[in-house]
């Protein structure tokens, strides 16, 4: 079913303030630290560009609030609706490239890139998070296969209706903000990988296919979820890296290993919002207390994940984040000063608090008649900042778990150790070219 786009309807999306999570990204983004992530689908057949073009026309009409560009206001950045058509481009210019930083120019904050049998969407985090992007991407795929087979789009597979809902572009952080909640405790600084940065363009990726059934059974053996298991492996690898460092290199390095795990808040709060709506859980091990076995690490991760996804605690974090945005003094600071403050705050506090990031987008479900055309999905995380150096993204489809590492350093040591750990656990790992 096609979406009717009424002009008066579009007035609602004429401009939008950035959501709470997105406010930091314009201040910290750069040509290298792009804050852009990618979702790809690898099909069993070559992409038919005619069908894709028609599918894009229908999908962009369904998600008008994504067709915006970033503008600079006096106090805050904002998103302004632009009418330029979404045109796919050939996928031959690097992964997760930055979007245009010229604020006067009409430049969208997402793109569709295509090559051979691979369709990808790249979204700036300013616009949405992984869940928002995956809903858009699934709709695009449904529209594409509907075009190929000459049928209408079945929106039920995306969990959304064919009509544009106002809730989809609301700032859910604001909706669930509660005033007068005590602030959360600040985290101490964490260990960072000691690797040397790559030459520009720094970002490179490594992708591996893992059997979902095998990793699931291993995680179940330990009584944990797949995310808990992968985070525990990441922490174990960080511990190995720290232990293998020469004694003199360890001097001055923090001994707390902490991994940031984004949590999709839509699982906790009933919202339809497709803009950013996630927070982080930070499982950690403290090497000042000694070395940890893998079983000990997974136990810590499991309990930390359970404790910190409690609704009351999440309320506390939302209130902290949104509260500072609502502060009248903060609101009155001109944007150029806000940019400076946010930049220094991000690098002095935010990026210092964790040693790595593991983002699990979950399992992508498609109707059976479409599934047979798809080989697998890939989720490439945004380029990490200079302190973090490595990011990890995970996505599942059918019996495959696809683990991708985005790296800006000169070594793949962490990735090697990570996949070797999995193979030693009896999980088959197949590295794949992307």
């Amino acid at each position: 079913m096609d979406i009717p786009v009424k002009k008066e309807g579009l007035r609602k999306y004429a401009w939008l303030p950035l959501d709470n999570a997105a406010k930091i990204y314009p201040a910290v983004r750069s040509k290298e630290h792009t804050t852009v992530f990618r979702l790809s689908v690898i099909l069993n057949e070559r992409v038919n560009i005619g069908c894709l073009l028609r599918a894009i026309r229908k999908t962009e009409a369904r998600f008008p609030y994504f067709k915006v560009c970033l503008r600079k206001g006096f106090f805050w950045y904002y998103l302004e609706h632009i009418a330029c058509p979404l045109i796919p481009v050939a996928d031959n210019q690097g992964i997760c490239r930055a979007f245009d930083i010229v604020y006067m120019k009409d430049a969208l904050l997402f793109r569709i890139v295509v090559i051979n049998n691979r369709i990808s969407v790249e979204f700036s985090h300013i616009l949405t998070d992984g869940t928002g992007a995956s809903v858009f991407f699934k709709t695009l795929l449904l529209a594409y296969f509907a075009e190929k087979e000459g049928k209408g789009i079945d929106y039920s597979a995306t969990g959304r209706s064919s009509d544009i809902q106002d809730q989809e572009f609301e700032d859910a952080y604001n909706q669930y903000f509660k005033a007068d909640i005590p602030p959360v405790i600040q985290y101490t600084k964490a260990f960072h990988l000691p690797y040397v940065l790559n030459e520009k363009p720094r970002y490179h990726t490594l992708t591996a296919l893992v059997s979902l059934a095998e990793i699931k059974s291993k995680a179940r053996e330990k009584g944990a979820s797949i995310t808990d298991y992968l985070v525990a492996v990441y922490l174990a690898v960080l511990q190995d890296i720290y232990t293998e460092m020469p004694r003199y290199s360890r001097y001055g390095k923090r001994k707390i290993l902490r991994v940031q795990v984004p949590i999709n808040l839509r699982q906790i709060y009933p919202t339809q919002s497709l803009r950013n709506f996630s927070l982080f859980v930070l499982p950690e091990i403290d090497l000042r207390l000694g070395q940890y076995s893998f079983d000990e690490i997974i136990k810590i991760v499991y309990h930390k994940m359970k404790l910190e996804t409690d609704e009351k605690l999440i309320n506390k974090i939302i209130s902290r984040n949104v509260g500072s945005e609502k502060n009248f003094f903060v609101r009155g600071i001109p944007l150029f000063l806000k940019d400076l403050i946010l930049y220094f705050k991000y690098y002095s506090q935010g990026a210092n608090q964790y040693s790595g990031v593991v983002t699990n987008l979950g399992r992508i479900e498609l109707p059976a008649e479409i599934e047979k055309h798809v080989d697998h999905f890939v989720f490439i995380p945004p380029p990490p900042n200079k302190k973090l150096k490595v990011n990890c993204g995970v996505i599942g489809f059918r019996d495959l778990l696809v683990i991708s590492f985005g790296n800006i350093s000169r070594t793949n040591d962490l990735e090697k150790k990570f996949f070797r750990f999995l193979t030693h656990q009896g999980i088959r790992v197949k590295l794949t070219t992307y």
């Binding site: 401009w15 303030p17 057949e45 070559r46 992409v47 038919n48 560009i49 005619g50 069908c51 894709l52 073009l53 503008r71 206001g73 006096f74 106090f75 805050w76 904002y78 302004e80 045109i87 796919p88 481009v89 050939a90 996928d91 031959n92 010229v102 604020y103 006067m104 120019k105 295509v114 090559i115 051979n116 049998n117 609101r331 009155g332």
Partner: protein, 241 residues
């Protein structure tokens, strides 16, 4: 079925060019082997393009070398003719000095074109040197240091500030014209000031004030057109707090 050899995507029968890359030469359905070699072929295509066309840097180097050859040939020829005819260096020193200053400026433009302050600073130093030398060749009447260099300095300063502002400006339009008009007004103030100091040992501004006022008024109109009328910006969204 048609396939784009560059992007590897399948095209509709009605499509004459690939909408992704604009390629108009299509392949037959590729085999698995073709898909593997597609990436390698693209790499070689790019290399071949590189051999056939010089890069901008190579073009700049070529221009610099050619200018060097022409200017130094000119220096050599005038020097020899002067020596043969007059048995000493007399009139040829003018052409030698001008050629050397010209070569220095071309070198600055070739190697420091992205380093604005070094480029303009270097150009100012070499051109000042030219004025001093020309002054010296003409019985040191002093116009080079007292008039020529201050005028040159004001000109270069205005150019540096103007270029810096234009580079910093995010959207180029009527605002650039506005900045140029303002610069012309300011430059006219400098010229009259320096001239009046040289001839009357006093700063007196007459015609330049009128020029400056006119230029400022025109610039104000241009800025208004650019920043208010052209953008049509909604104040509510611009100042949302």
């Amino acid at each position: 079925m048609k396939f784009c050899p560059r992007c590897g995507v399948e095209l509709d029968g009605s499509m004459d060019i690939c909408p992704l890359c604009g390629c108009s030469e299509f392949d037959q359905p590729p085999t698995q082997e073709d898909s593997k070699t597609a990436g390698i072929n693209r790499h070689y295509e790019r290399l071949l393009d590189g051999y056939e066309h010089l890069t901008r840097k190579q073009k700049r180097m070529l221009f610099w070398e050619m200018s060097g050859i022409i200017l130094f040939s000119g220096i050599l020829v005038t020097l020899i003719i002067n020596l043969v005819l007059s048995k000493s260096i007399t009139w040829s020193r003018y052409s030698i000095t001008v050629c050397l200053v010209l070569f220095a400026n071309i070198s600055l433009l070739s190697f420091w074109r992205h380093r604005l302050f070094l480029l303009l600073g270097g150009s100012f130093v070499t051109t000042s040197l030219l004025l001093i030398l020309l002054d010296m060749y003409n019985q040191k009447i002093g116009w080079g240091t007292q008039l020529g260099i201050p005028l040159l300095l004001s000109f270069y300063l205005v150019i540096i500030v103007l270029t810096w502002i234009i580079r910093k400006t995010k959207q180029h339009g009527f605002n650039v014209l506005g900045y140029i008009f303002l610069s012309v007004g300011f430059l006219s103030l400098c010229i009259e000031g320096i001239l009046s100091w040289y001839f009357k040992s006093d700063f007196r501004f007459q015609w330049s004030l009128i020029v400056f006022a006119c230029m400022t008024a025109i610039a104000a109109i241009l800025f208004f057109i650019h920043y208010r009328l052209n953008r049509g910006m909604d104040l509510r969204r611009f100042f949302h707090i």
